[in-house]
Symmetry: C2
Subunit: 161 residues, 2 copies
């Protein structure tokens, strides 16, 4: 695997090669893991995005404004509307306009959705185990830490160019 990735790189300076390799590895790992999770969620009639919205709502424990959900998803605003639309159509969330500030729409998770999430919990844990169970705890910790550190270059600059 290492060799193949490096083969795709045009040899330049070692340091730039290193950075590019990290980026490619990041993309590749994310894609492959994402595929697996996507397949699992699909077995329960959900997409990854839908699952994530529901997970956030369950974690919050009470209705949330659309934009607050969108924020936690690290998604851009427009996508959230359609996402909630489809969840509502499936009876997994309910929309309710706030009476005090009529601009705000609260989204609440339904019992039906909570039931599905509960069904997913175990297989999801199992999948995590399958994907990462072969790595010792110390390495997982290091990996998390390094990913966080990588993101520090964008800290406080989320929206800027």
């Amino acid at each position: 695997m290492t060799g193949r990735l490096q083969n795709e790189l045009k040899k330049k300076r070692p340091f730039e090669e290193m950075e590019e390799e990290v980026v490619l590895n990041l993309l590749r790992t994310n894609d492959q893991f994402g595929n697996r999770f996507g397949r699992l969620f699909r077995e329960y009639g959900l997409t990854s995005s839908q699952y994530n919205v529901l997970r956030i709502l369950r974690g919050e424990g009470k209705p949330m404004p659309s934009l607050e959900i969108a924020e936690r998803l690290v998604q851009v605003v427009p996508a959230i509307t359609g996402l909630i639309d489809r969840l509502e159509k499936q009876g997994l969330v309910v929309r309710q306009r706030c009476t005090e500030d009529r601009r705000v729409v609260y989204v609440e998770i339904t019992e039906k959705a909570l039931g599905i999430l509960k069904q997913i919990d175990k297989p999801l844990t199992k999948l995590h185990k399958r994907l990462l169970g072969h790595m010792p705890r110390a390495e997982l910790k290091t990996l998390s830490r390094l990913l966080e550190k990588a993101r520090q270059s964008l800290a406080g600059d989320e929206g800027g160019l």
Copy 2:
């Protein structure tokens, strides 16, 4: 601060927590980096996927069958058709059916596309630097290695469930 001790006691299954944290960090980092690269490519009229197709074609140095490109993109087959369609419409690639095996369609990169890629090279390197330049070489190496290791759990199992 209720204390680190209590926090540790409250942890249910530390190991699974760790795995989930890695996955979330992976998603987040990938999203944020992906946004940056996407914006850069858009300045040159390309999407990330389009850039990647062109980069692969430049690297190969000669026309390639559609499916071979798709394979390297870690993408599923159907997406490649539309992608090539749009690149062709922009005059960035040319399609040519193979005479020996009439099922195969070769895709060739154009001079126009090579010119755009050349323009992108420097800003792209600069962006890499900006995103990862704050990490010492040793950490980049470790990060790459751990990402590769994470993917080993799916080795030789690309298509399976």
